[in-house]
Structures are given as structure tokens and as C-alpha cells.
């Protein structure tokens, strides 16, 4: 052996970037350890959209029967049938960015079983590490899901009656997807970090998922909500997880409000980043290092 210990060289920015890359690669390799389960899980996510198409078809038919009107397409909450289906297809994309399966419960499990110690001992930041692993998981997911996504969108192309939105809307749409991913991550990580105070957070996660299901626009477009409920829900950050990107794409948000809305979203993102950091530093201080 080489005798006395030589100090390690300082870590520069390039080394950091390389670390991020290796974390991504390792998380990706781990994902691939159970390819079969992963691929099946990915494909099953497309099933609900078929039910949605049938359900909303039936609802619009029923309305057309009870009030025949002048032949113009019926609208619910500002959406006609084609837009409604397009909306659900688009929220599927939004959810593909913003949903974080197992993040909160994963953090809680690590706190409870003491695996979180690893991040306290090693020169690495837990939240950054989880974020990078999540990026890797998402990339793996897109790699598998892009085929089925393309097929579904191709089959449903007729529902997109307005065609592709203009470039500036497209940019806003992509920006909202990216921020949706980050808000989804930091929001759910913050819920997971509650486990520093309450060891068992499963029911809390369940409640959050329930609220998120209705109030993010995953179940129905938020513009369907009656006032003043709609006004309040609109103030919540949950809409960025599903409704907001789809609404941008379908041009439900007027051009002159687009920038403001995106800035509000960015402000929410900053809020959740700070909340997460604060909770982590407070939580670690009261952590008692469970499990041996």
C-alpha cells in the first residue's frame, strides 16, 4: 500500500458536472435492472386515456340530445369535445413531466430506515442527488414511452382541430413542462421531508395525491369549476402539474397574460426550492439517526 494518506485534490466545477452525469448514468442503469416491469408499467399508463375519450364522448352526446341548439359544437367550461380529448392527451404529457411516483414515500422510507445517513456522511447533497436520479428516471421513461405516445397522438390527431400553436406558445408550453417537472419534484420532496417530523406519512401522501388528482386538472379542466371555487383553485400551485401546460397549448391562456402566468409559476418554483432546502436543514438537525 502507498503508506501515508495523500489529500484528495479539490473538486472543481468540471468534476461536479461529471459527478452529475455519473449519478444520472447509475440511476439509469438501476432503472434498467427491472426492464420488464418498467416497460409494462409505462405502457399501462396509456389505458386511462381510452376511458376518458369514451366518457367525454358520452357526456357531449347527452348534452346534444337534451338541448339540440343551432348545430355549433357544444362547450363545457370553454372546451368542445375535440378540445376536451386534446386536453386529456396534453395533460398526459404534462403528467409525464410533473408526476413523481414514489418520491415522497421513498424519502420517508429512507428517513425511517436510516438510509438517509449515507447522504449525511458522504460529500453529496440529498436533494441534488434525488433530483438527478429523477431526471435519469424520466429520461428512461421517455425513451420507452415516446413510441406509444407518438402512436396515440397520431391516432388522435383529428382532435387537435387548431393544429400546432405558434412558436412563442410552443416555447411557453415547453417552459411550463420543464417548470412543471421541477415544481412536481420540489413539492413532493417537501412532502417527503415531513417524515423528519412525522415518521409515517403514507396517509398524508394519499391525501395529497387525491387533492392533486382533482385540483391539478388531471381529472377535468379547471375551467369547469364553478366560481368562486375556480378562482381559489387557480391560486394554488397544483395547476402547474397538469392543467397549465395543456391550457397553454390549447391557447386557453391569452397571449398578454402568458408571460405573467409563467413568472408566477417561476415564483412558485423558487418558493418550493427554498421550502425544500429549509425543511431539509431543519429536519437533519432534529434527525435521530434511526436504525442502528
Amino acid at each position: 500500500m502507498s503508506g501515508t494518506t495523500v489529500p484528495l485534490p479539490p473538486i472543481g466545477f468540471a468534476d461536479r458536472v461529471r459527478t452529475w452525469w455519473v449519478i444520472c448514468r447509475t440511476a439509469l442503469a438501476e432503472r434498467m435492472a427491472y426492464r420488464g416491469d418498467f416497460a409494462l408499467g409505462t405502457l399501462m399508463r396509456f389505458l386511462p386515456i381510452i376511458t376518458q375519450i369514451f366518457l367525454w364522448g358520452a357526456i357531449f352526446d347527452a348534452i346534444a340530445e337534451t338541448s339540440p341548439g343551432d348545430g355549433t359544437p357544444k362547450r363545457i367550461g370553454g372546451f368542445d369535445l375535440a378540445e376536451m380529448v386534446a386536453y386529456f392527451l396534453l395533460t398526459m404529457i404534462a403528467r409525464a413531466f410533473s408526476s413523481m411516483p414514489g418520491l415522497a414515500s421513498g424519502i420517508a422510507g429512507q428517513v425511517r430506515q436510516g438510509e438517509i445517513k449515507k447522504y449525511l456522511i458522504q460529500p453529496i447533497d440529498l436533494i441534488a442527488f434525488l433530483l438527478l436520479s429523477r431526471v435519469a428516471h424520466k429520461l428512461a421513461y421517455y425513451a420507452v414511452a415516446i413510441g406509444p405516445f407518438a402512436l396515440v397522438f397520431f391516432l388522435c390527431r383529428d382532435y387537435f382541430t387548431a393544429g400546432f400553436p405558434p412558436p412563442h406558445v410552443m416555447v411557453a408550453f415547453i417552459a411550463s413542462l420543464m417548470m412543471g417537472f421541477l415544481i412536481g419534484f420540489f413539492l413532493e420532496a417537501a412532502i417527503g421531508l415531513i417524515s423528519f417530523w412525522m415518521l409515517e406519512i403514507n396517509s398524508l401522501v394519499l391525501i395529497f395525491m387525491l387533492f392533486s388528482f382533482f385540483l391539478s386538472g388531471h381529472m377535468f379542466p379547471l375551467s369547469l369549476l364553478p366560481e368562486p371555487i375556480g378562482w381559489y383553485v387557480n391560486l394554488l400551485p397544483l395547476k402547474y402539474l397538469a392543467y397549465f401546460p395543456a391550457a397553454i397549448f390549447l391557447r386557453k391562456i391569452p397571449d398578454d397574460e402568458l408571460m405573467t402566468e409563467l413568472l408566477i409559476e417561476a415564483a412558485w418554483l423558487v418558493f418550493f426550492v427554498i421550502l425544500c432546502r429549509w425543511m431539509y436543514s431543519r429536519g437533519v438537525r432534529r434527525y435521530s439517526g434511526y436504525g442502528g
Binding site: 455519473v22 449525511l120 458522504q122 460529500p123
Partner: protein, 325 residues
């Protein structure tokens, strides 16, 4: 200058007290009762660079809590500690790149991936230059004889193999201070021996400062010059392994082998009769009385053989633990 300095270190946990029964659980939702558990009550310790120190103590004595405090996993209630000049619970990256903690019951490696992948990640996290990483890894896998297992998912390895892999992960960045918490727990005799051998060799070559907790006296006897006994959250003894017997056991064990047919029935007046297997009798005798008892018995009875021994270390320590708790 000492590498580890601990002064009056305390750690109290507030534990929610659960009472039995559904009604009590329900009331507990509204009015929580807490009890304070004093895991570490004021530990003082100074360790010089290059020492190999063993922490001994019964379960719940505060050994692991002390290691957790020194590795910065938890914050203390009071007192101070520095390791290589750093305050552990500040968790500075410079500190974290210079020590390692191995827990026998926890793994740091990715369960579904070959250890090799985890090592590469470690290399990045700790910022180990390529050539140094390869050199260290070759050396460690060679010493522990696990080169062939590097490419196998960790979940497929045996407990002993996994422990070796964990050790390698902890040593890749050549830590100057190493905390080992029960590194041989649950391992068979051969694996225990391999790990002991490895640790001894590694420590001698590198001069790494090591703090080890273990329940296996063999680990301790094989590795550590210095033993710190922790019980009831306090340091009860700090010195050599042999010194424990001198300090805590006032007794010697005298074995007398009598001539055929000699069966005295008054031996209990000399001390405690520990074992009777005619013609051999074992007596526990207060140390100061040994010369007198030997003289008297040799004078009074026909005796063929005599031996005087220290009581077994395990027993002395068990007695000591018992007294403290």
C-alpha cells in the same frame, strides 16, 4: 495534537411514550407524552492519529450514538467534539471527504447494481483522480479477494462478500479516520477472520485512525491496543485489554487437582466453589488471598496439580456491564 477530541459530549433523545390499548393510543393523538432517553451522558475521549481503538459496551450503551455524533449523522445535545479539527455535525464537505463510516447492518451500495458501478459513483462523489482510484481499487479487491465479484449485482452476494464490498466502498477515498460499527456482525468465523486480518494489515500499512465497535471479543483482541468501555452513556474504562481484568476483577481462578481418594468438603471457606469434577475443583478466590489459600491447601491435602488463572475476559466484561446497567 490529537486527531479526535471529545469533551462532555451528550445526546438526549425525546421519545414519544406509547401506552397500551386503543383508548390510550387515541388519547395519545391529542396529548403526547415524552420520555427523555439519555443515550450519551458526557463522554470524554482523546484519540491520537494512528490509534486503533475499540468501543465495548452492552446494547444501548451509547457506542453507536457516539459514532453517529462523530460522523455528523446526528447533532449533539451538548458538549464539543472535533475530528481532524472539524466539528462533525457541521457536515463540511472537506471533512466528509476525509473520513468514512461503515455500519455492519446498513449498506451504502446500490442493491441492484454491481459493486463496480457504486464504486465509480463514489469516485465521482469523493473526487478521486482516475489513476489513484484504479490503484486503490485493485489493491483493496486483491487484498479481500473479491476481484471476480465486482461485476455481480450486490443483491446476489453473500453477507460476507457484501461486507467486504462495503469496506472497499468506504476505503476508496483513503479516509484518514475510519469509524466501524459492528463490521463483523452476523458473519461466519472465516469471514470474520478475513475481515480482521484485512483491517489489521490495512491499519498497519496506512496508519489510519480507526474507532471500532464490536460484540466479538476476538475482533477486539486481534486488533486494538486500546479499549474504551462505554456503558450507561459514560466512559467506564479506557486502557489496554489486559488492564480490564486487573481493574475490574479482584478474583483469580485456582484449580486444584487432588490425589485419588482425597475429597475435602470444607473448600468453601477459602472462596467460591465454581466447579467440582473430582478430582478437580475450581475455586474463585480474592486476589490477595491466593498465596495464603495455596499454602494452606498444599499443607492440608495431597494435591497433584495446581493452576492459577485470571477469569475469562468475556466474564469480567459481562460482570462489569451488569454492574453498570
Amino acid at each position: 495534537m490529537p486527531i479526535i477530541e471529545v469533551r462532555e459530549l451528550t445526546k438526549y433523545y425525546r421519545v414519544h411514550r406509547k401506552r397500551e390499548g386503543l383508548g390510550a393510543s387515541f388519547r395519545g393523538l391529542f396529548r403526547r407524552e415524552y420520555t427523555e432517553v439519555q443515550a450519551v451522558k458526557g463522554i470524554n475521549l482523546t484519540v491520537e492519529a494512528g490509534e486503533f481503538v475499540a468501543f465495548l459496551g452492552p446494547n444501548g450503551a451509547g457506542k453507536t450514538t457516539t459514532l453517529k455524533l462523530l460522523s455528523g449523522v446526528i447533532n449533539p445535545t451538548g458538549g464539543t467534539a472535533t475530528v481532524m479539527g472539524y466539528v462533525p455535525w457541521e457536515r463540511r464537505n472537506e471533512y466528509r471527504r476525509r473520513f468514512a463510516l461503515v455500519m455492519g447492518q446498513k449498506n451504502q451500495l446500490w442493491w441492484d447494481l454491481p459493486a463496480q458501478e457504486s464504486y465509480r459513483l463514489h469516485q465521482q462523489i469523493y473526487g478521486i483522480p482516475d489513476d489513484r482510484f484504479r490503484h486503490t481499487l485493485d489493491e483493496l479487491t486483491d487484498l479481500l479477494d473479491v476481484t471476480k465479484l465486482l461485476g455481480q449485482p450486490v443483491r446476489e452476494l453473500s453477507l460476507g462478500e457484501r461486507m467486504k464490498m462495503e469496506l472497499i466502498a468506504a476505503l476508496l477515498h483513503s479516509p484518514e479516520v475510519l469509524f466501524l460499527d459492528e463490521p463483523t456482525i452476523g458473519l461466519d468465523v472465516i469471514a470474520q477472520h478475513t475481515i480482521q486480518q484485512f483491517l489489521r494489515h490495512y491499519q498497519q500499512e496506512r496508519g489510519t485512525t480507526i474507532l471500532l465497535t464490536s460484540h466479538y471479543m476476538k475482533d477486539v483482541a486481534a486488533l486494538c491496543q486500546r479499549v474504551v468501555i462505554v456503558a450507561g452513556g459514560l466512559v467506564q474504562y479506557d486502557g489496554s485489554l489486559a488492564g480490564i481484568v486487573d481493574q475490574f476483577s479482584g478474583k483469580k481462578i485456582v484449580t486444584l487437582q487432588f490425589a485419588v481418594g482425597v475429597r475435602p468438603d470444607d473448600l468453601a471457606r477459602h472462596g467460591t466453589v465454581l466447579e467440582t469434577q473430582w478430582p478437580r475443583v475450581k475455586l474463585g478466590i480474592t486476589r490477595a488471598d491466593v498465596p495464603r489459600v495455596l499454602a494452606e491447601t498444599l499443607r492440608d491435602y495431597a494435591i497433584e496439580d495446581v493452576s492459577v488463572e485470571d477469569p475469562p475476559l468475556e466474564e469480567v466484561i459481562a460482570d462489569l456491564f451488569h454492574q453498570v446497567s
